[in-house]
Symmetry: C2
Subunit: 579 residues, 2 copies
């Protein structure tokens, strides 16, 4: 590909490429003229290049619309929106619809606005959904709460394109007025409501759809996905780092041509973004699985644009934003170049022009709210963690390796006054969830089996779904306090303590969820804390991720929140000791 940058008027003429037309499903030779950031003309191949226009020789390349990720959480990447954009633009993504559910649970509407503000400096465009379920549950203390009024204010922002994933499907089905008010707020501004209803079926699913929920990304089986599509839901096929539904749902896309379906990543972690890519990986897998390549491209361009009413993008047509992805073929989808808003920004494996400018937003990071330390630990941690010495039968959270469900175990343990577990120490550890939003100062204390912390030490995290309190497990109260205080000082993240000193620390100072470092540094940092945790004896593949899900009280069987142990089956808090 040759690049003639002689132009001075900001026009860019992409000549000789093969256009992937997502409107008609055709591929054919066409030239694309970009001007003032928009596509000005799409003309039959061979139209003369007007003098003074920069021209890009696209012979041998396919010209696609830039990809749109219809559902993702920036927070899962643990980097800022600007850094996320720098990571995925080379993979063809030029727009992402981010659900800021995690930061909202920590910092509320101000956190959402901080993320939105931070995203403005990114090389990709971000659009947002207004998080519908903050707090996620009443069984824990979140940093904030978003009611219908706050959501309505967010929904009026042009950058907010939908009400975010409506996880409280029982509330929708039983027509809870507070929940319906949130849906009505989206309706008033004509924006759709994203769904989140794993396994919902039959009459309840009908009620959920009738209430106004219009998409779904939690379907995991063909049968579930088909029932949801038949009732009119737009189907987001999720291919995240952990939850991967493409293989199961691909037959439906093949049957329907992918209409009213789109590809999304939901949660992708730093290492996965670096190693596998983003939507480009999903396209590769989909085409390898037998889906027509143009249908696959539509599922990551025209379809999300149509669903979210993003009329200004997702297609190669006059008047739309000139976001283009040039690839060598429609199987490997290997990036040759990316044009963002009419400007060639990435070509031949490197940034074009001003890479410093492009990455400028990365270290600058977040706006005002995100700059402050969001970790507010209660006074007298030592007293709050203390449990009177006792031997007997206790409720213990049993980790199941590789899953987010846990077991509700009943084990004989002997706990001393310093938080040590005596002979059971290698098998069972003390664990605590410390409210860190400066609201209640509450601490829940419990026991966990399966972390395998053998030596004296502790692991701690401020990433703890969904309220993101500080969760810490360790061999003694003293080790746990050192880990918690290390995170309190650096504004949150992951910490490992060994023999009373911090052996590994990944600061995530932006809301205690995200770093302001490049994604490669963050991936290395995660690897380092996990390695340090394994040095304590933990044999889990990803100790920090396992820890971060132990406070999620909607997933069976036994979880711990800042308000205490929670028995999910009984749907109530329970005491540590049995009898």
């Amino acid at each position: 590909m040759s690049w003639n940058s002689s132009a001075g008027d900001g026009a860019l003429h992409i000549v000789g490429g093969t256009l992937v037309n997502v409107f008609t499903g055709e591929t054919y030779c066409a030239d694309v003229l970009c001007r003032r950031g928009l596509i000005a003309e799409v003309m039959p191949a061979g139209s003369a290049t007007a003098p003074g226009q920069a021209s890009l020789d696209a012979r041998g390349l396919y010209v696609l619309p830039g990809l749109i990720n219809g559902h993702m959480h920036v927070e899962s990447s643990m980097v800022t929106p600007a850094e996320y954009a720098c990571t995925v633009l080379p993979h063809g993504t030029t727009c992402a619809v981010a659900d800021p559910h995690e930061i909202a649970n920590v910092l509320g509407a101000a956190g959402v606005r901080s993320l939105m503000s931070s995203a403005r400096s990114a090389v990709c465009d971000f659009r947002f959904t207004a998080p519908s379920c903050v707090p996620a549950t009443a069984m824990e203390t979140a940093g904030a709460s978003l009611g219908a009024a706050e959501l309505e204010a967010l929904l009026e922002d042009p950058a907010v394109v939908a009400l975010g994933e409506m996880m409280n499907f029982p509330g929708v089905v039983r027509r809870d007025p507070g929940i319906l008010a949130k849906i009505a707020a989206a309706g008033r501004v004509g924006k759709p409501v994203d769904g989140h209803a794993p396994g919902l079926t039959g009459t309840d699913l009908n009620a959920y759809v009738a209430a106004g929920v219009s998409s779904e990304h939690e379907a995991t089986t063909l049968c579930e996905a088909r029932e949801k599509m038949r009732l009119g839901m737009w189907l987001m096929v999720r291919e995240g780092s952990a939850a991967r539904n493409l293989a199961a749902l691909l037959p439906l896309a093949r049957d329907t041509g992918g209409e009213r379906m789109m590809f999304v990543t939901d949660d992708r972690h730093p290492d996965d973004l670096l190693a596998a890519g983003e939507l480009d990986e999903v396209l590769r897998l989909a085409v390898a699985g037998g889906l027509d390549p143009v249908a696959a491209v539509r599922m990551a361009t025209l379809n999300p644009a149509a669903y979210f009413g993003l009329d200004d993008r997702g297609v190669v047509a006059p008047g739309r934003i000139a976001d283009l992805w040039l690839v060598r073929d429609l199987a490997g989808f290997e990036t040759e170049a990316v044009v963002k808003s009419g400007r060639l920004v990435y070509s031949g494996g490197r940034w074009v022009g001003e890479p410093e400018g492009i990455r400028a937003g990365v270290t600058a990071g977040a706006g005002g709210t995100g700059q402050a330390n969001s970790v507010h630990l209660p006074q007298d941690l030592s007293g709050l963690l203390r449990v009177p010495p006792r031997s007997g039968r206790a409720r213990v959270i049993g980790i199941v390796p590789g899953q987010i469900v846990t077991r509700n175990l009943a084990l004989e343990v002997c706990l001393d006054g310093a938080g040590s577990l005596g002979p059971a120490g290698r098998e069972v550890s003390k664990i605590a969830v410390i409210e860190r939003h400066g609201r209640r100062g509450s601490v829940g204390v419990g026991l966990v089996s399966g972390l395998g912390l053998a030596g004296p030490g502790a692991i701690a995290s401020t990433v703890a779904h969904d309220s993101h309190n500080l969760i810490v497990a360790g061999s003694s109260d003293r080790e746990m306090i050192v880990a918690a205080e290390a995170l309190g000082e650096c504004g949150g993240g992951f910490a490992v303590v060994r023999d009373g000193v911090v052996s590994a620390l990944l600061p995530l100072p932006y809301a205690g969820l995200m770093s302001r470092r490049p994604v490669a540094d963050v991936a290395r940092g995660i690897a380092a804390v996990n390695a340090a945790a394994r040095e304590l004896g933990c044999e889990l593949e990803s100790p920090m991720m396992a820890l971060s899900f132990l406070a999620l009280p909607v997933i069976p069987e036994l979880k711990l929140t800042d308000l205490g142990l929670f028995d999910v089956a009984a749907f109530r808090h329970v005491p540590l000791w049995i009898g």
Copy 2:
């Protein structure tokens, strides 16, 4: 089909039918529960009927969404919206998007609002587009003018779903600020802009699309349609009474599966509506032409709903308006029943329940503005029609039978002081366009060849595209004045005068364009005036329609407006006499 009307709670359970699922393209057995006007549930066949619910046995029938006509002019049917609805609902149409371009040219925004108000009593739902080109040209005097401010006010009405057909494509292409302001007004309220650009191609078409025009219904060839679709325009396949484009464009629908395409009727006349139907006829023709039946149904349901953002209809899904069309098969599309807003209103060839109520709006007709006589003839018609006696070479409008183009003829004629043409009388008639909106009182006078008015008489019409002035042709000024005054008295319509007396009259008192009578009466009335015109010697198939297009100054070659003869090629007014 059996109908158990024992229910008292307004619920209707349609059991045992075969659902046409426009989301997935499938057909399968399913039960549909309607409640409070909406679809409450779509469940697998065999779900039990809850006690007290009226049930409709739909075994052996297909259950489709009610049809949506995405582009039509009520005025072309010459009846009120309520009567139009009564005419087409038995053909499966439950919603029509009406462009009130004709009444707007007569009565302006008040006329549009009158039509909208009148439509509220109809058994179908009407949505409207805001007429973008009023007046249509500067070469004639329309009754009103709609600027960007008036259009913006209309566009804010929830019943207005788009800016109406943007016929002034030269103005868009050259970026006329007044035209762009109208498009911007639609953009501000997030509503699409309907196009109207016959033959536009290449760079000009790119500019038209880039300006924000998003659909087109004027494509007549496959090549033209494909170019427009490739650039992202939604393609309306028009099958009107005169303009019929289905046969030419059907291959494109077969290729693309009909995505982003829809069926519309634009202009359908009363006799055609009665004899052939409406969208149901288009579906029959499309399926007979090889289009997949479900794809065809989508083009008249889901697709127009998607294009216009009508999220509340066009599909059989929970929460949507329960508008359903039950047919015996997907080839003949013969209506068995129609459910409107959850109520069975038509079944087995007749209205159900209160037919008087259903048709109530028909004779009530229009609201305030529409009640007044809109025909305001100037004083001293006799003086205004008078042309000094002269013999010589004159410009004569040459009618081409069956077409709306005319010839610009130069003929030797001899005109006496009474408006008679002496020996040329059978071949050439005097014709006048009389400004009838009470604005300028202007009268244009000319000569026409091909009407064939042999005996003493005249024919007149207040339907005269696009400004709908009164157009009259006759053997003498006296006969012409009798015809014009007959229309002035009855509020407009069609009149035929023979030997100085009215021999046939069809009053169209609603804006001089529409009747308040049933469509069958109007069809008979049109037949009667055409027959009376033929008794004067006219050999055209539809003399009144031929007359109504002689004042349209955008169609070549020679036309007459209230401001005089207009040479379309030269694009200027020209004198009657040559030299």
